[in-house]
């Protein structure tokens, strides 16, 4: 099954973290369809939503390889969860007075918005799941798309469980000694 799947990657909000994630995809030959980065409710963390194309085996590797990055805190393959998923496209479409009505009808059907109109064109803003945004684009194509900008998809699982970042607590007895000793102690040596 070669699907497009959204994966949510919770990362430490630090310099270059996007380069680490994007670099990993490039190195391992994973295919990014879309990518969106933004802050979360906690300023220490950002959420990267990547839409990846691939079969089960590739998805397994994508999740596991992302998990290896030290900057990555949590990886969720949200394609397996009930979810809310949104992306946005701004589409500048050729719109002469004679075809404006038809475009406005499409805008209404897709619950999109018109952000700008002039004598020759309109800018349409559409939000929604990938397929919906794509459908709007396809419908506008015959009118002539002059320019387009599109965001990556963002997504959240609908479940009630919310991932809490575990506290980075250090056993008291290990404080003050080298981390190597802490490591040895953790392994029960």
């Amino acid at each position: 099954m070669n699907d497009l799947r959204p994966i949510a990657v919770l990362v430490r909000n630090e310099r270059g973290v996007l380069a680490r994630v994007a670099g990993l995809f490039a190195r391992r030959g994973f295919n990014i369809t879309s990518l969106a980065v933004g802050e979360t409710e906690d300023p220490r963390f950002s959420r990267i939503t990547v839409v990846v194309g691939g079969d089960e085996a590739i998805m397994e590797q994508v999740v596991k390889q992302l998990n290896r990055l030290v900057s990555v805190i949590k990886v969720t393959d949200i394609s397996r969860l009930p979810r809310v998923e949104r992306g946005l496209a701004l589409i500048k479409v050729r719109a002469k007075p004679e075809n404006r009505d038809e475009i406005l009808q499409l805008v209404q059907i897709f619950r999109a918005r018109v952000d700008h109109v002039d004598h020759r064109s309109m800018v349409v803003e559409v939000t929604g799941e990938r397929a919906k945004v794509q459908a709007m684009i396809d419908m506008l194509k015959p009118h002539g798309i002059l320019e387009m900008a599109r965001t990556g998809q963002i997504a959240l699982g609908r479940s009630e469980t919310i991932y809490q970042v575990p506290g980075a607590e250090v056993p008291e007895e290990a404080a003050g000694s080298g981390v190597y000793n802490l490591y040895k102690r953790e392994q029960g040596e």
Binding site: E60, P166, V179, Y180
Partner: protein, 585 residues
């Protein structure tokens, strides 16, 4: 203008505490005893603090790549992180090969590189290189420090990341102004990075499933990799093997994790593995993989690696499971507790499974495909030199290799009897690894004899470290199996490219003379009957004089590494080894 003379060396206690002082304090706090490095403009403040502190001990190398390999060798023999210190730009980029090598073999390193001052970053300043960007794919994690107050946290985290879970190299890039800036002395508590978690105990349910697969198997094999050594689980492996009677094959990285002279040892699998190990894997119905990533040199053609086997894969890195060979029972965890759990459950078996028919079959393969090599009269067979070393040295010695034919001869013919007795570049295959890694190995475990078995091509690549060995009086033996060829490539040319020996013939450098010129000792060995005496002499000299002793052994230049699975072929299609008296063609 003041006429006061400038005070160059202020008294020690009047020095303000700087970021560089924090760097040294952090190293000492991590119990670092040895640092390998090279001076340069951007790292001078750290070296100045090192001078003032007087510790840890520092080894000046000939080339930064050598520093990385020395730290690597040190880490492999001690199990502690190796530490490297270099300047910015070329000093730092010279580390890249060493970092990649450590990354592939999961070796814990912490590299500290100087960097141009923060206000020049991104300006193509003198000796500026984007080390953070360059080393991202070849490190487990890397940092660029922007404020000296961050240093304690960064160092604590860096050492933790390098050592924990699947170990690996970490790089800390340190702009010069950060090192020079005043900051309060500060001791960090050890810090676990947020969200960074490493598996340790295996899932008991999986352990039960795994043992059930083994109990029902008729023809099981254990494939044990470097994870058993890194995880300090060799004792557990031996106990499990002796409890169950399942034969073991040890990968190149795993050699020494199970005694080579044990009845149940099958030697190495894969491209230059033993015929019997490859046949056993192919015909097996269950394979227990412990701490190996099953790379292409092990599996050969993946579909025909173990077509009928149920695979149990124990690894600390979940991403290795199902990466190459589909696995039936994944056991994510540290090798030691995993094998302990296996031993406990297998000890409770009511009836022990009977693998005796399988072992008899393997014994037959062992006879049929015994490891043999041809001898040409008057010429030294390289395999013979390795075998002789195996007889002369005890199990405590450390063997280090470069990369090429000599490395495979060593893997095939040296009897590794304890973990951490072989230091070799497995994943990256870095020619030139041998000499610097041997220096690190000797410094990490000075009580052990260190013998670096090297090729002439490989030895030349980091030959400058002979100066380091002489400077610090590091006594070790280098045995160059000199065939005046890039032997492994020549072997491929002869076997697969109709003998077109493109650019593989080397000039015969007299390496014994080179060693003497550096201030070490050397001897050229040309005839088979000289070998054993020369080895004894070299060992005695290296112990007594604390100097590097180079034996330039002129081996049969036409010798080839067999058995060999042709690249891309199935492991069962190996070209078998041939013994007897070879005649000149």
């Amino acid at each position: 203008m003041s006429s006061q003379p400038q005070i160059i060396n202020r008294p020690k206690d009047n020095h303000p505490h700087t970021g560089a002082d924090t760097v040294i304090a952090c190293l000492l706090q991590q119990d670092v005893e040895l640092v390998f490095g090279m001076q340069g403009g951007s790292i001078m403040p750290v070296y100045d603090s090192l001078f003032k502190a007087g510790a840890p001990r520092h080894i000046i190398v000939g080339h930064e790549q050598g520093a990385a390999h020395m730290a690597d060798g040190y880490a492999r023999v001690t199990g502690k992180p190796g530490v490297v210190l270099t300047t910015s730009g070329p000093g730092a980029t010279n580390l890249v090969t060493g970092l990649a090598n450590a990354m592939m073999d999961s070796i814990p390193l912490v590299a500290i590189t100087g960097q141009v001052t923060s206000n020049l970053l991104g300006n193509d300043a003198f000796q500026e290189a984007d080390m953070w960007g360059i080393t991202m794919p070849v490190t487990k994690h890397n940092y660029q420090v922007t404020d000296p107050d961050e240093l304690p946290d960064v160092f604590a985290e860096a050492f933790y990341v390098a050592m924990s879970g699947r170990p690996g190299p970490v790089l800390i890039d340190l702009p010069k102004d950060v090192a020079l800036k005043e900051c309060p002395p500060y001791q960090a508590a050890p810090r676990v990075p947020e969200g960074y978690w490493t598996p340790y105990q295996p899932n008991q349910k999986r352990v039960v499933e795994a043992l059930e697969v083994l109990r029902q198997a008729q023809k099981p094999v254990i494939l044990a990799g470097g994870g058993v050594i890194q995880g300090d689980a060799s004792e557990e492996l031996k106990r499990f093997v002796e409890l169950t009677g399942i034969p073991v094959t040890s990968t190149l990285m795993g050699l020494g994790n199970f005694p080579a002279d044990h009845d149940l040892s099958l030697g190495m699998p894969g491209m230059h593995g033993t015929g019997y190990a490859n046949l056993a894997l192919y015909h097996s119905d269950a394979i227990l993989v412990v701490g190996s990533r099953l790379d292409d040199r092990i599996t050969g053609q993946v579909e025909r690696f173990c077509p009928n086997a149920k695979l149990i894969h124990v690894d600390i890195d979940a991403s290795e499971i199902n990466k190459i060979v589909p696995c039936l029972v994944p056991v994510v965890g540290h090798a030691k507790p995993a094998l302990k759990a296996f031993i406990k459950l297998a000890g409770e078996w009511q009836t022990k499974p009977d693998y005796s028919a399988w072992r008899a079959q393997i014994a037959e393969w062992k006879k049929e495909h015994a490891m043999v090599y041809p001898r040409r009269s008057g010429r030294i067979a390289p395999q013979e030199v390795v075998e002789m070393l195996g007889r002369i040295l005890d199990a405590e010695a450390t063997i280090v290799t470069g990369v090429g034919q000599h490395q495979m001869y060593t893997a095939q013919y040296y009897p590794f009897r304890r973990p951490r007795s072989l230091i070799t570049s497995g994943g990256l295959g870095t020619m030139g690894f041998g000499l610097p890694a041997a220096l690190g190995a000797k410094l990490g475990a000075p009580q052990r004899d260190v013998v670096c078995i090297d090729g002439d091509g490989s030895f030349l690549m980091n030959i400058q470290e002979l100066a380091t060995a002489v400077r610090y009086g590091i006594g070790l033996v280098v045995v160059i199996l000199n065939n005046s060829y890039l032997g492994m490539v020549r072997q491929w040319q002869d076997m697969f490219l109709d003998g077109r020996r493109s650019e593989t013939l080397l000039s015969g450098v007299p390496y014994d003379q080179v060693a003497k010129a550096f201030g070490g000792l050397g001897r050229r060995v040309e005839r088979p009957e000289e070998v054993s005496g020369a080895l004894e002499w070299a060992l005695a000299k290296s112990r007594k004089d604390s100097l590097p002793v180079v034996l330039d052994v002129q081996v049969d230049s036409e010798a080839v590494v067999l058995p060999m699975v042709p690249p891309g072929g199935a492991n069962t299609d190996f070209v078998p080894c041939r013994g007897g008296e070879a005649c000149d063609e």
